[in-house]
């Protein structure tokens, strides 16, 4: 088991090793008696079987002794468990949301208009998964943007999900907590070393359950502050950018990136999806000629299907960009009406203008 690098993870590791050795000793004792019987009480060497079939003393002994061993195991377990169940606020508080099939991290401690808020999804290229390219060292355990936390700081995670159950697991912190839609679970850690720590989703969440890793980058406090400042500046810039005019090319470029992060798992790189669960976007009537419907689906999702509502997940610029991209890519531009949508229009619709 991973020994990990927080106090709790080491305590769990010690507990694990303790019960592991107790179990080994019990197992070996049982096996030795069986082996002894097999070797010396076989018919060829022991033709006359004994006749006993009860021994009250013996039976009491092997009921009481295991009970005492169990009590000895229970005591440290209760202590460690109580420590893990400390839900008090952390110095850094992060909301972790499981989505099919990526994680979203929101830092909750900012008071300004912007928050550090981003998605973290698998960075391993499809060609490595499909055995076309050679697999890199951190195959399936690498993300585009890791969660960044400061070292030696109490970090509390508020864990929830957007669609189905997920489970956020980083073995090095011994944090594993189910992410449940509509519920918020808490977990915490104090990372004691800087470095990169990797984990995976631990609850079956559909098709790409095996492809939504977790990467945590533990950095020194000043570095964390600097990182946060950059992210906040970028967020402020993005907020400004929504209100300016975007060219078709700019939207297409950003859209391609957003598509690669959020849409590609279901609708595939070539836009053809995996019908019938995940429909093709190539030459589809809505994508070609019905801009209003297209915007509505991307913003509000389609209930009862895997199509999530992206309105609350992405910025207006990203939404406009990805819709634009879908309407222009894969030859859709030539076949359809070629209409695109701008960030401003998205903002207008979201503020009650007209996704209806």
């Amino acid at each position: 088991m991973t020994e990990g690098q927080s106090r709790v993870s080491r305590e769990i590791y010690d507990l694990h090793m303790l019960i592991f050795w107790i179990c080994c000793i019990i197992g070996v004792m049982v096996y030795l008696v069986i082996l002894w019987s097999i070797l010396t009480h076989r018919r060829s060497v022991h033709p006359e079987p004994a006749k006993f079939h009860d021994n009250v003393t013996l039976e009491i002994v092997w009921t009481v002794i295991p009970s005492i061993i169990l009590l000895a195991m229970a005591w440290p377990s209760v202590r460690v468990l109580s420590e893990m169940y400390d839900h008090s606020e952390g110095e850094v508080n992060i909301k972790v949301t499981g989505h099919q099939w990526k994680w979203r991290y929101e830092y909750l401690d900012e008071t300004g208009p912007d928050r550090v808020n981003f998605f973290s999804s698998l960075a391993t290229p499809r060609d490595e998964i499909n055995n076309i390219d050679e697999k890199s060292e951190n195959y399936l355990l690498e993300v585009d943007e890791p969660l960044t936390i400061p070292v030696n700081t109490r970090v509390r995670f508020l864990i929830t999900a957007n669609d189905v159950l997920h489970s956020w697991w980083v073995p090095d912190f011994a944090v594993k907590q189910d992410a449940i839609p509509g519920m918020v679970n808490t977990a915490w850690t104090v990372a004691e070393k800087t470095g990169i720590f990797r984990g995976q989703c631990a609850e079956l969440c559909g098709k790409d359950h095996g492809f939504m890793p977790i990467v945590v980058n533990v950095v020194e406090k000043p570095e964390f502050e600097a990182w946060k400042a950059t992210k906040l500046a970028a967020a402020a810039e993005m907020r400004e950018a929504q209100n300016r005019d975007w060219s078709k090319e700019e939207l297409y470029e950003l859209g391609e990136k957003v598509y690669g992060q959020h849409c590609v798992a279901c609708h595939q790189v070539n836009g053809q999806g995996i019908p019938p669960a995940f429909p093709s976007l190539v030459g589809d009537g809505i994508v070609l000629d019905d801009l209003e419907k297209h915007v509505d689906i991307v913003l509000n999702g389609v209930s009862g299907t895997g199509m999530a509502a992206f309105g609350g997940q992405l910025s207006a610029a990203e939404l406009a960009a990805v819709i634009t991209y879908e309407r222009l890519a894969w030859g859709n531009e030539e076949k359809g009406d070629g209409r695109i949508v701008t960030p401003k229009e998205i903002i207008q619709m979201q503020s009650g203008g007209g996704a209806q």
Binding site: L15, S37, K51, T63, V80, G182, G199, H209, G210, A277
Partner: protein, 544 residues
């Protein structure tokens, strides 16, 4: 088909030419079965129905095994080789459902059908028509379940535990067929267990008090009560799913005021007794086989019965140990942790009793004995890893990893399946009157024993190293152990074909004596091999 129906109606009309034996049903006590396919369709005979159950089990064992082979082939090396992730999920789901509901459960029901009337000195089961019905709805349930794979939108892909909302809002349309199939399986189990309880409580031979019953009968009495308790809960949970999917309720949807965690509580309230439903009859079989080949009475009969009863009672108090990471209150975690640890005590008692049964015996190692000893050894291993999983803080690291997969396969494969094989090799000569091929049986055992460990032991290591379960592809550090595990799986799968050969060669084996083994205890051995169609037409006398 029409021909057979005609044959049946002439038989009931009393035409002597065809099916004469069935026609004189009321005149003779000692008659054989009807002829042809109708014998199997209309049969109310406990042996015929037992055989049908066991045949269905065998077919489903190979189908479920095939799914496992697909899983292990995909996991042989990192990367996606053979199947899409969604199809992989269908394979894990169907493998689990088929093995639990299609192999472990009906397999032991089949053995109960064959053995219980013979062991308690009865002519047949108490409710023969119910018996027929509870078998014949089963094949249709599995046809329905398996057919979902070919449906538009794909088959069931949410794991055998089918957690909502993946199995409700986000499920393929075929989930409705799955719900119906589960309902049918549940109905079959409930009818089967009612039949078993009624038979055991009412049809024992004079003098056979409860505490004189063979342990296999005891294990089934307890199992049947657990089934009666657990299966309606399963029916409830799938009905709630059905309502959520089709009738707009929100049992498991937080947005509508429900709670996805409720699903897990209800499911595991069924699910935990279920795992003891699977293992208790195996306990019973082992307690029959070990004394025979140790030539020494079972050690601690009474404590074996009490241990099984306490395991059964505790099993309904520990369901949430499957959900330690779900965010329960601390008090809940502690209760379920401690209650789970308590189960180790009666389980330990059983293992010590089995070991003490062998101790100072006069052991021989025929195939049933080999499977039974392997059961004790490997079930101990699975039991101890279960104890580790009970420790809630450590479970935060074990939960949903391959460590769990290794644990429950250790109790289910060398546990349930080896128990079933021990029973099969032990009773086959009695049932059909021919000795199986001992060399083939031993070959079957040794290959299975070695490969099952190659298959599942490395999974402990990848689990502790951090490999989550139910993933079609994995990081590179897990590659070596997965390859070993897959090789073990292929070897284990192939070894099971030997059992088919054993069955096919059965009829060319030597004639079995009535006792078959040296000095086996129990009423079934007082009957000829094979036993008459209606086991005991006059009740035997059991010594007081």
């Amino acid at each position: 088909m029409t021909q057979q129906t005609a044959a049946a109606s002439t038989a009931t009309a009393g035409a002597p030419a065809q099916g004469g034996a069935a026609a004189h049903h009321d005149d003779h006590h000692d008659h054989g079965p009807a002829k042809g396919l109708t014998r199997w369709l209309y049969t109310t005979n406990h042996k015929d129905i037992g055989t049908l159950y066991l045949l269905l089990t065998l077919v489903l064992f190979f189908i479920g095994g095939l799914f496992a082979m697909v899983i292990r082939a995909e996991l042989f090396t990192p990367g996606l080789q053979f199947v899409e992730p969604n199809f992989f999920n269908q394979m894990t789901t169907l493998h689990g459902l088929v093995m639990v509901f299609g192999v472990a459960m009906p397999g032991f029901v089949g053995m109960a059908n064959w053995q219980i009337p013979m062991m308690i000195g009865a002519p047949d089961m108490a409710l023969p028509r119910l018996n027929n019905l509870s078998f014949w709805i089963l094949p249709f349930a599995f046809l329905l379940l398996l057919s979902t794979t070919f449906m538009e939108g794909g088959g069931v892909n949410f794991g055998w535990t089918f957690y909502a909302p993946l199995s409700t809002t986000y499920a393929p349309d075929s989930v409705t067929f799955f719900i119906f199939a589960i309902h049918i399986m549940g109905a079959s189990s409930i009818m089967g267990s009612i039949n078993i309880i009624v038979t055991i409580l009412n049809m024992r031979a004079p003098g056979m008090t409860l505490m004189k019953m063979p342990l296999f009968v005891w294990s089934w009495l307890i199992t049947a009560y657990l089934l009666l308790l657990a299966m309606p809960v399963l029916a409830a949970v799938v009905t709630m799913m059905l309502m959520d999917i089709h009738f707009g309720t929100s049992f498991f949807n937080a947005a509508g005021g429900g709670d996805p965690v409720l699903f897990q509580h209800v499911f595991w309230f069924f699910g935990h007794p279920e795992v003891y439903i699977l293992i208790l009859p195996a306990f019973g079989i082992i307690s029959e086989v070990l004394p025979t080949f140790s030539r020494k009475p079972l050690f601690g009969y009474a404590s074996m019965v009490y241990a099984m009863a306490s395991i059964a009672i505790l099993s309904v108090l520990v369901w949430a140990h499957h959900m330690f990471t779900v965010g329960m209150p601390l008090a809940g975690e502690l209760f379920f942790m401690l209650a789970t640890m308590v189960i180790a005590v009666p389980t330990g008692v059983k293992i010590f009793n089995w070991v003490a049964t062998m101790f100072k015996g006069s052991l021989t190692f025929e195939t049933p004995m080999l499977f039974s000893i392997a059961f004790v050894v490997l079930f101990t291993c699975g039991g101890l890893s279960g104890l580790m999983l009970a420790i809630a803080p450590a479970d935060f690291q074990y939960h949903d990893t391959y460590f769990v997969v290794a644990h429950f396969h250790y109790v289910l494969v060398p546990g349930v399946i080896f128990g079933m094989y021990a029973g099969a090799y032990y009773w086959l000569p009695k049932w059909f009157g021919f000795m199986y091929d001992e060399t083939l049986g031993k070959l079957h055992f040794w290959l299975s024993f070695v490969s099952v460990n190659v298959l599942f032991f490395p999974q402990h290591f990848v689990g502790l190293a951090g490999m989550p379960r139910r993933i079609p592809d994995y990081a590179l550090q897990f590659a070596d152990y997965n390859m070993i595990s897959s090789l073990g799986a292929f070897a284990f799968g192939l070894s099971q074909v030997i059992f088919l050969v054993v069955l096919m060669k059965l009829k060319s084996g030597a004639k079995a004596t009535d006792k078959v083994w040296d000095e086996p205890q129990g009423l079934e051995w007082t009957l000829p091999s094979p036993p008459p169609y209606h086991s005991f037409t006059t009740p035997p006398k059991v010594e007081q």
